[in-house]
Amino acid sequence: MPEQLAVEARGLEKRFGETVALAGVDLEVPRGALYGLLGPNGAGKTTTVRVLTTLLRPDAGTARLDGIDVVAEPHRVRERIGLTGQYAAVEERLTARENIEYIARLFHLPRQEGRRRAGELLERFDLVDAADRVVKGFSGGMRRRLDIAMSLIARPSVLFLDEPTTGLDPRSRLAMWELIEELEHDGTTVLLTTQYLDEADRLADRIVVIDHGRVIEQGTADELKDRIGGDRITVSIARIENQAKALEVLRQRCNGPVDVEGDGRTFSGPIRTGDRVVPGVVRALDEVGVDVLDLDVRRPTLDDVFLTLTGRPVDAADDDSDGVTGAPLTKVTS
């Protein structure tokens, strides 16, 4: 028997009138993993989460959570999940502590235990100072943290985070990432949706790319990048006389055709990830006396992945996000 999956969805379909929100989503998340559901606006991320959390009934397909069917036994599923929706779901006029205790009561935890858990969670989510303040005056980051704390009250087996950093400033984003990483270390299965490539890249064990209600690709961030061709090295040299020598070196080290740019002094070609190609190239060029002006290694970003997979950039759709979409660029200058 295969290891039990935390989430197992087959052929999920959902339409709203004419709009096809899900066109057959398959998804498998093993226990304890952190999966990223990546897609642009309107891809079907929220709809997928809503089906898995029993909020929406699929038109077709099945979904199981810890082996329990979400349509047949929604109540049992609800006992095992935590949901932090796309819009921070907090009661604005209650304090942070009251909010957590309120949800604890709806989970039917004994009052004492609810209090204790609330105390623990406030501490852990850095909300102790604000614990007895009404949520209305909280910043976006604080609300999000409270929101997640409320989802963790009953120690869910699977936690759903729908765009947990949308609308946060860069510092809160970073804090949120650290927090999500900690959750994973605790062994909670996390399914996170995001429109941010760098977020999926940093957090997720595996990324599931979704577009137009369909899973179009999945794998680790590295696998996705390798699938569209691995890293590229770009070298600029000082003097055009050295063109032949430089080309010679690069042709040896690259694992594909080397391009020469218009100025004749800039070359680029694919290299294998993690093969110490770059130091080799630098040394070899030095040995044959080529003066290097600039050297870049560019890992393909998930933007590139997306462009390759869908034929359009990730933010081509309408975009109300103000977030970062680029992935890191490694730059080495000698």
Binding site: R50, L55, E79, G85, R105, H108
Partner: protein, 258 residues
């Protein structure tokens, strides 16, 4: 936990959430209380001289039960607005993902709104007494009259719950919740006897359940014979609850935040 004890416990948790917020949002309560007081004073002094209500000691004795009924009906609008707020804040998604009773969210909301309405009603009665309204029937009759009014208001809370869950914004819930209450309460016996209206309007007014509820409580407060109006009133209220609690609960089970 049995289903029933879960419904009761969760409803109480939900009602507790709303009740706890009332004092933190005291302006809402203050204005909700000022409005009926204003109506009492305005109608009594502005129309009191011009309108005679045959069979009654004075216009106040005729008018006050009508204003009580109208204010309680208006008070039901809080239910729809509150639910629309929960929807827009994403709370409905959260609540629906919890292993709690589904109907508890609506029961807790309607019950807490009923308690709030009882509070404003009490203030209103005190003011009415201050300007000269008197109970001319027995205490038991007055209690029954109050029960009839509160039950009708509670039944309309369920209508408002369905409206609040059906519209797309809090503003829309506010307008959609209020707009029909003007014809409902004015094309009735609340302020003037329907006999003074044009024939077609009089027919509508007499068929209006709000007229029946007003007549029932008015007769009881004034110690007059009430006929079957009490039974009709209770029947209307229970029928509204049965239909709209069912529809609203169903709707809630499918609602997702915007």
């Amino acid at each position: 936990m049995t289903d029933l004890s879960m419904v009761v416990q969760d409803s109480w948790t939900e009602a507790g959430r709303h009740l706890r917020i009332i004092p933190r949002n005291i302006e809402v309560l203050i204005f909700a209380t000022i409005q009926p007081i204003m109506f009492i004073v305005l109608f009594s002094y502005v129309f009191g001289g011009a309108i005679t209500a045959p069979g009654f000691t004075n216009y106040d004795q005729f008018l006050m039960p009508g204003i009580f009924a109208q204010s309680l009906v208006f008070g039901s609008a809080f239910t729809g607005v509150g639910l629309a707020e929960d929807l827009s804040k994403g709370l409905v998604d959260r609540l629906r993902s919890l292993p709690m009773s589904r109907s508890a969210v609506l029961i807790g909301r309607t019950v807490s709104d009923l308690l709030r309405n009882i509070f404003t009603f009490t203030i209103m009665v005190v003011i009415a007494f201050a300007i000269g309204f008197r109970l001319e029937g027995s205490f038991a009759q007055a209690t029954l009259a109050t029960f009839v009014l509160l039950l009708f208001s509670y039944s309309l809370s369920w209508v408002q719950a369905l409206i609040g869950l059906s519209v797309k914004s809090v503003e829309a819930a506010n307008s959609a919740g209020f707009i029909w209450m003007f014809p409902l309460t004015f094309v009735s016996s609340a302020f003037v006897p329907p006999e003074t209206m044009p024939g077609w309007l009089e027919a509508i007014a007499n068929a209006n359940p709000f007229t029946i509820v007003t007549n029932a409580s008015r007769a009881l407060y004034n110690g007059m014979p009430v006929g079957n109006d009490v039974w009709y009133s209770i029947g209307w209220s229970l029928a509204l609850i049965a239909v709209f609690a069912g529809l609203a609960t169903r709707k809630f089970g499918r609602s997702t935040s915007a």
